[in-house]
Point group: C2
Chain length 408, copies 2
Amino acid sequence: MRPVAEHAAAVAALFAPTATEWVPLGEARGRVLAQDLVSPHPLPPFANSAMDGYAVRSADLAAVSPETPTELPVAADVPAGRTDGPALEAGTAHRIMTGAAMPVGADAVVQVEWTDGGTERVRVERAVEAGQNVRGAGGDVTAGEVVLEAGTLLGPAQVGLAAAVGSGTLPVRRRPRVLVLSTGSELVAPGEPLRHGQIHESNGPMLAAAVDDAGGRAELLRFVPDDVEQFVRTLDDALAARADDPVDLVMTSGGVSAGAYEVVKDAFTGRGVTFTKVAMQPGMPQGLGLHAGPAGEVAVVTLPGNPVSSLVSFEVFVRPALRAAFGHPQPERPRVRARLAEALDKPAGRRQFRRGRIDAVAGTVAPVGGAGSHLLAALARADCLIVVDEQVTHVDAGETAEVWLLDG
Amino acid sequence: MRPVAEHAAAVAALFAPTATEWVPLGEARGRVLAQDLVSPHPLPPFANSAMDGYAVRSADLAAVSPETPTELPVAADVPAGRTDGPALEAGTAHRIMTGAAMPVGADAVVQVEWTDGGTERVRVERAVEAGQNVRGAGGDVTAGEVVLEAGTLLGPAQVGLAAAVGSGTLPVRRRPRVLVLSTGSELVAPGEPLRHGQIHESNGPMLAAAVDDAGGRAELLRFVPDDVEQFVRTLDDALAARADDPVDLVMTSGGVSAGAYEVVKDAFTGRGVTFTKVAMQPGMPQGLGLHAGPAGEVAVVTLPGNPVSSLVSFEVFVRPALRAAFGHPQPERPRVRARLAEALDKPAGRRQFRRGRIDAVAGTVAPVGGAGSHLLAALARADCLIVVDEQVTHVDAGETAEVWLLDG
C-alpha cells in the first residue's frame, strides 16, 4: 500500500499556484496577497498633531510656566482635513485638532488642557519641547516601504494598513474552484423523503463546506448518474460551462471500491486517473490524476464514499494542497501533542486517523466514537484528529499522540 | 475612569440575542444552530452491507472453510439504492454492494474477496458469523436523537450530519447587521489622490473587515459629513432604508475626543448615547447607547479615531458582544499566558493592550512597535494582544502576561 506522505505529495503536485486577481479592498479579507504592497507615500503623509490644542513655536514658550503664563494671538484654525496649510508666524498660535497637518513654522502642540481654550487669543500655562505632541511624517511607514509582503493573509489590520497607504484594490491569489461530485443511485437530496434502501446525500454538502472552509470555492454537482457515459458527459458539460473561470479540481466521493457498480473508477480508469490503496484508516481507496476535459486538463481527486473516510481524506490530502495552491501561509492544521485519555488499539501497517476531542487545559485527548468509517455523529462531535503511525498497534492511556486541531 | 470590564458589560448589554432564520444547508457553514436538531429516522436508516460481497444466512455457511467450500445460487443483485428489497431464501445468496440494504432473511455479508465473485452461482470459502459485515440500523444515530444541539457552530462535519438526517434547511441565528460609519473631513477614499492635510480612510474598511471576521454583516457608510445635522440625517436615512432587515449596531470611529469638531459626540450627545473615559490604553474615549432611529432603537458604539485604538476597542468590547449576540460558542479570543521576550513599561491606572507576536513553541511573546495608537504597520505585523493590568507599571522580560490570540 502507498504511504500517506507519498499520496499527499502526489495530490499536492496536481495543483499549480493560482493566478493573481485584483479585488476591491472590501473583498480582500481572508485572501492572500499576491505581490508585495509598497506604500507610495509616508504614513502619516505629513507631520500632524497628536492632540487637540494649539500649534506653536516651542521657542516662543520657553519662559512659560503656570506661574508665568503667556497669551498668544490665535492666527488660524486648523481642523483635520484643512488643505490650504497656512504658515505659523512667530509669536502666534494656530488652534489645531488631532490629525491636522502641522503648520509650517510650528514645531510643537500645546494640548488644550494646558490652555484656556481661547479662540481669539489663547492663554498658555506650560512650555513645550520641540516635537512635543507631533507625529512626524513617516513615523509609521516611509515612502517606498514594503508594508505587506506577498503571501500575507489579509485580516482586518492588514486591510486597514492597505487602505491607509491608499490601495483601493489589492492583488490577491485566486481561490481555487472545486467541483464537488456526488455519485450513487441510493442518494436522495436532504429534505426529500426516503424510500427503502435510500439514504440522504451527505458527502456533497459536507465536502463543499470543507472546500469553502479551506478558502476554496466549492460548487456541488449533485446526483451524477451511476452510468459511465452519462457521468463523463455530465462532468464535461459542467467543465465546458465553466471554461471562462475554469475549475481547478474535480473532487468525487464514492464509486471507487471493489464493487460491481463503481462509476467513478470505471469512468476515470484509462483517462489519466490512477486508483491506489493508501496505507491509512479510514480512507484506503484513493485516486488522483488529470482529466482531459473540454476546457483543458483538470486535476481530479477521488475520495472514498464513507462519510468519515471522505472527510478525513480531504483533511489529509486535499485541504493542505488546496491552501498551498493559493499561497495560504498555514496550509496545514495546527498540530500539537496530547496525552491519550484512554488506550487505543489499531491494525498494523496503516496510519490511523481517529476522531477525538481535546482538552487543551489538561493536555489530553479522548477518542470519540469507534473506528467505523460510517459514524458521522461521532465525527460531528470531534474537534481534532488523533494520528497513530503505521507500525503502532497499541497506545496506552497517558502516552502522547499527534493531534490535528480541526478548529484551527 | 471607567474600568474595562464595566464598559465591556455595558456594550454586551446593548445586544439582544439575534432571531432565528432558516437557511439552505449550503449556506449553513459558519452559522450557529438555533434549535436542537432531532433526527427523524435512524442512521443508517436500515441495516446495510459494510462490504461489497454476498448477503447470506450465516447458518447456511456454518460448515464452510477453504478446504470445504460451498456454492450458493445468486438469487438477486442488490446495488446500493435498490428500493424493492427482495427477501433472501434459505440456501441462496444475494450479490450486494457497500451501503445496500440487507435483504430480509440475510444476517451477514461474505466479502467478495472470500468468494469467486460469481454472478449466477457463487463459491464461498469462509464461514461468517451473524452480523458480520453488517451495519445495523441506528448504529450511528437513533430515531428521535438530538444529533446537534442548539448553539453548535456548523462546520463541514456538522453540515454533513445535518444532511445525513435529511435536513435541507437549518434554523440558524441571524448574523448581526452592523453599519460602520467613517467621519472626518480629512478622509479620502483609498485609491484617490491626497491633498495636503488629507489621509486615506482606513478605519472604515478595517472595522468592516473586523465585523465580517467576527461573523457579523458589515456595511460601510463612508464619509459621513463633519456636520451634526447632516450626520444625523445621513444615519437616519440609512437606517430607514434598511428597516426590512434592520441594523443591529451603528459603529462609528473618530469624532469623540476633546476637540472643537467632534461630530459623533455632538450628534449623539443628548440622544441616548453617553461618552466616557475608559481606563485603557489605547482606546480611552468610548461611547455607547441606544439611538432612537426611524426603524426603532438601535445600539450605538462609538470607537476612538486612531486606527490602533479603534481596532483594539473593537477587539475588547464589540467582537465578544457581537458573537455572543448570535450565540457563538467562543465569543472571546483564545487567551494564553506567555513569557515576555522583553521588558514593558506602562502608565499606572490604565489596562494596556500592546500589539505582539507570539512564539507558540517557545512560549514567548514580543511586543511589536511602540505604544503609539497611530502605528498601523506594527498592528498589521501583530498576531496577538498583550494585556497588562491597570496597577502594573513594569513587567520584566521573562515574566508572563495574558495574551489574546488574534488568529484564533
